[in-house]
């Protein structure tokens, strides 16, 4: 059957397959439009997501060392809440690049760095555990002027005093044969052998008197003594100088002895000295007998002592003239009473005197180290140089650390009244270290016998020493201010070892460009090079301390009544701060909080923190002594020392560490450090700890890693595009 299909009114030319094609194309168009729409949505969504992702990643951009461009270090003043005197701020600026975003990142960090360690001068480094009392008993009988059996040394100059005795001297001028200066007669030894012979005794020859030998020995021994107390007695006058640790007084006492007594009761004098050792804390009791051994009118001792050594010597008795031999018995007796007898003979016949020394438990002709106990101890806090810690140990009363090489050191001497430093031939020094100062790679130490030592910390070598300069040391850019020493003067010397000037004053302070000196109630600002006085301030009260604040440029002087005067560099008075403690000022430090200065003021009685206009709090020491205070992160690390009630010495009593809140004075921590005085704190920022040491070298450490500023803390980032 044929299909009768109807057609359009006009011919489309399309068959059924054409229609199919049209439908497919329309379908594809719809699908394509949908796909494009969906793709657009996905693209937008992706773009948004990426933008947020970028933000997310940008939040945690950290400068990594690999991408670091460089870093720069700056050192500025002390951070807030830290002692200005001891601390500074280290700023590190790191630049790095975030490569994806082409952003340069500048990051800043800060931490605390050390300006200087808090050294304090230790004026009396006395150990009661090694305390040694020596009585120098000098035979001042006329026989000491007789011949010693030896001649004068031809190359040495001797002085004949108006009183007749002859002593070695260094007169400072050239003597050919002899020179008379007023009543003083200087002569060369060679000339003296023929022109100034001592009276000959019956069996000794030689021009030199016994006194010359004895005096030379005594002055040499006393010059090297330290860490001992010495009294001087003579056979005719008894004690002429009570026990003292000031060897200048001892030297003066020896200098005042004139050997003209008509008797020499050696045994009697020696016996009477037993009662002079009154101090219960003394560990070592010594008598140093300097004599020619001729006992004249001697032997007047108790009968049970006369033959104490039971040697049945028939001369163990009183003899009106020469000949008594009770001296060895008295020496034996003293040994039994725990007093050692050392003997120095001033005559060639040493047999009897050696026996006296042996029986007395001492040594004949002892050297300095025989009289000073070995006692290894430290009298100053250690010095940290780089990664090394150097202990400043003393032995036999002399600064003698094991690490120090003294080979090739130059030795100088301050020439009396003249401010000239002259070269010396010998290279020895004496005394224990009392103060230290580090200037760059140089360590300066002063000793208790007024030696100033300069040591190179790199090579650990002693560079030079100057005798005559002692006391507190301050050094800045090769200018050294030292003193006052035993002579009461402060000396300013330069790196060429030239004395720029000296001043008789009690305290001195070195600041950049000038020196402040304190004499009584007067403070003077002086030119560093000339000593010329620029300005002067007089208070109604003597000053007992002077300190410098490098942050504000304040000069802070404390009075003996506990008031502190705060000056600017020109000694313009800014504030007077009263601590209400009514005791001598010891120390002043400053820290900043909210841009305001806070003064940490120590007196003999207590510590206070003051602002410029008010006292914030006061912390009494309750009978302790102040040993130092350091402010770290608004906490005060206060060291105190409770001295022993019985025996005095840096090895006696107890030392304490108090950690106080700097603003309230609240006690955050209290710790007993150890027996004896504590030196420190030694601040070791590299290991995040402070520690205290005592005379034995024992140490107590405190961890300070939790304090703000010990480790690098961020100061934020700064971003720069491009």
């Amino acid at each position: 059957m044929a299909m009768n299909r109807r057609k359009l009114f006009m011919d489309t030319g399309s068959g059924s397959s054409g229609w199919v094609l049209v439908c497919v194309m329309i379908f594809l168009l719809v699908v394509q439009a949908s796909a494009v729409g969906i793709a657009e949505l996905v693209k937008y969504g992706t773009r948004s997501a990426k933008a947020f992702c970028d933000i997310e990643q940008g939040l945690y951009v950290e400068p990594s060392p690999a991408s670091g461009l460089d870093s720069r270090h700056l050192t500025l003043g002390a951070p807030e809440g830290w002692s200005h005197r001891y601390f500074m701020t280290s700023i590190e600026l790191r630049r790095s690049r975030c490569i994806d975003d082409n952003i340069e990142i500048k990051s800043a960090y800060w931490k605390v760095c050390l300006s200087c360690e808090p050294h304090r001068e230790i004026q009396n480094a006395w150990l009661w555990g090694c305390s040694t009392y020596i009585i120098v008993l000098v035979d001042d009988s006329e026989s000491m002027n007789w011949s010693s059996g030896a001649g004068y040394d031809p190359g040495i100059t001797y002085l004949k005093r108006p009183t007749g005795e002859v002593v070695k001297t260094s007169c400072g001028f050239d003597v050919q044969d002899f020179v008379k200066v007023g009543p003083l007669l200087y002569f060369k030894g060679e000339y003296g052998n023929s022109h100034f012979p001592a009276p000959l005794s019956s069996y000794f020859m030689g021009a030199m008197p016994r006194w010359t030998l004895a005096f030379g020995y005594l002055t040499g021994i006393v010059e090297g003594l330290d860490m001992v107390k010495v009294a001087v007695a003579t056979t005719s006058r008894g004690i002429i100088q009570p026990f003292t640790s000031d060897m200048r007084q001892v030297e003066a006492a020896i200098d005042s002895i004139h050997p003209h007594a008509v008797s020499s009761p050696l045994a009697h004098s020696l016996f009477s000295l037993k009662a002079e050792f009154k101090d219960k804390c003394v560990q070592n009791r010594y008598v140093l007998l300097v004599t020619d051994g001729d006992e004249l009118k001697d032997g007047d001792v108790p009968d049970d002592i006369k033959d104490f050594d039971m040697d049945s010597d028939p001369m163990d008795k009183y003899v009106e003239g020469l000949g008594s031999r009770c001296l060895d018995d008295v020496a034996s007796y003293l040994k039994s009473m725990d007093v050692r007898v050392f003997v120095k003979g001033a005559c060639p016949d040493e047999t009897f005197l050696r026996e006296v020394a042996r029986k007395g438990g001492g040594i004949y002709s002892p050297a300095r180290q025989d009289l000073v106990p070995e006692c290894v101890f430290i009298s100053q806090m250690p010095v940290i140089y780089g990664a090394e810690e150097l202990e400043l140990t003393n032995c036999h009363g002399v600064f003698s650390p094991k690490w120090l090489s003294t080979d090739g050191a130059m030795s100088y001497e301050l020439e009396g009244e003249k401010p000239i430093i002259a070269k010396k031939s010998d290279t020895g020094f004496s005394g224990v270290v009392v103060d230290t100062c580090v200037d760059g790679a140089t360590l300066y130490c002063s000793t208790s016998r007024d030696y100033l030592l300069s040591m190179d910390l790199e090579s650990k070598a002693l560079k030079w020493m100057i005798h005559g300069l002692g006391g507190k040391i301050r050094a800045l850019n090769d200018t050294i201010v030292v003193g006052p020493g035993k002579d009461g003067f402060v000396y300013v010397i330069n790196s060429d070892l030239k004395v720029l000037w000296k001043a008789n004053c009690a305290l001195a302070l070195l600041t950049p460009g000038c020196v402040y000196t304190v004499n009584g109630a007067d403070i003077e600002k002086r030119d560093m090079n000339t000593g010329e006085i620029y300005s002067l301030f007089s208070a109604g009260m003597d000053f007992s301390s002077i300190d410098y604040d490098p942050f504000y440029g304040f000069v802070i002087a404390g009075t003996s009544s506990g008031d502190f005067y705060v000056f600017d560099a020109e000694l313009g008075l800014h504030y007077i701060i009263n601590t209400y403690s009514d005791s001598p000022a010891q120390d002043a430090g400053v820290f900043t909080w909210r841009k305001k200065p806070y003064f940490v003021l120590a007196t003999d009685m207590g510590l206070s923190v003051n602002t410029t206009d008010s006292l914030l709090w006061y912390h009494p020491f309750d009978g302790c002594s102040y040993t130092g205070a350091v402010v770290m992160d608004s906490r005060i690390y206060l060291g105190t020392w409770k001295r022993s009630d019985t025996c005095q010495g840096i090895d006696a009593g107890k030392s304490f560490l108090d950690i106080l809140d700097a603003f309230t004075g609240d006690k955050l921590e209290r710790e007993v450090l150890f027996q004896g005085m504590a030196f420190g704190p030694v601040i070791d920022l590299a290991s995040s700890q402070v520690y205290y040491v005592n005379w034995k070298g024992d140490r107590v450490s405190k961890d300070i890693s939790g304090l703000r500023g010990i480790h690098y803390s961020t100061l934020g980032k700064c971003l720069k595009r491009g």
Binding site: R6, K7, L8, F9, G37, E40, L41, Y44, S48, A51, F52, I55, G58, L59, V61, L74, L76, G77, A78, P79, E80, T89, I91, L93, A108, W110, R594, K595, K596, S713, T714, L715, G716, K717, C718, L719, K720
Partner: protein, 231 residues
């Protein structure tokens, strides 16, 4: 023999044609609505993104050379981020050795009234360029403050927008970027940053700053909750 369409055929074809046209129109308006919706969404997202980019940059640079404990403060719908952006007229904060001033830098409030505070300095880094600007913020120990638009730069007496009663004499004060929500949108240092932002909720604790940003455009509304780790 050819014949024309019948009436039925014409009617059917007309109906089909109209249905097709209606369908196309419907599709067209559907696409238009979708496009509009996408555009509004895009405005919202862009606003949020713009805000986050700025906030992120300011947060990254927060408290540069300033006390880190004064880095961020929140007051209602206002966010204070310590620091000021570098511009042609302002070099930002720098470490200045000659001034001897030690970072972190800050000024100290010397006196306070309801309407102003007096600072010890307006040059906190010692570079002889004032660091406080009108319409920016101040973060103090006692809370944030906004510097009024009538502040003349260089004056140590600074008129403040909020009540200054929260801060006390002796407090530290540092300049800050301030984000605040106003009816017209989110403002940064007094300048419109994103007009679509209608919600700016902040939650600050010791370690996280939580931002809740809400943007509205047309009938479209977008929200982002963003946690920013600040330590």
């Amino acid at each position: 023999m050819y014949r024309g369409f019948t009436l039925i055929e014409l009617l059917v074809s007309l109906f089909i044609g109209m249905a097709l046209i209606l369908g196309l129109y419907r599709i067209n308006s559907m696409f238009r609505d979708a496009a509009s919706k996408i555009r509004h969404s895009r405005y919202c997202i862009q606003s949020i993104r713009n805000c986050l980019v700025h906030i992120n940059m300011d947060l990254l640079q927060r408290a540069y050379l300033l006390p880190q404990d004064l880095a961020l403060q929140v007051n209602g719908n206002s966010l204070f981020i310590a620091g000021l952006p570098v511009s042609d007229r302002y070099p930002g904060l720098n470490v200045n050795i000659r001034s001897g001033m030690v970072p972190p830098y800050f000024a100290v409030v010397e006196d306070v009234s309801n309407a102003w505070i007096r600072l010890d300095t307006i040059d906190i880094d010692g570079d002889a360029k004032p660091d406080f600007w009108a319409e920016t913020g101040i973060i103090t120990d006692g809370g944030p403050l906004k510097i009024s638009h009538n502040y003349s730069r260089g004056n140590i007496i600074i008129p403040v927008g909020f009540s200054a009663s929260t801060c006390r004499a002796g407090d530290r004060a540092v300049p800050a970027v301030v984000y605040e929500l106003r009816p017209k949108g989110l403002y940064r240092n007094g300048q419109l940053l994103a007009e679509s932002i209608t919600g700016f909720d902040l939650l600050l604790n010791s370690s996280v700053l939580k931002l809740h940003l809400r943007a509205s455009h047309g009938h479209e509304q977008k929200e982002v909750v963003y946690g920013y780790r600040i330590r």
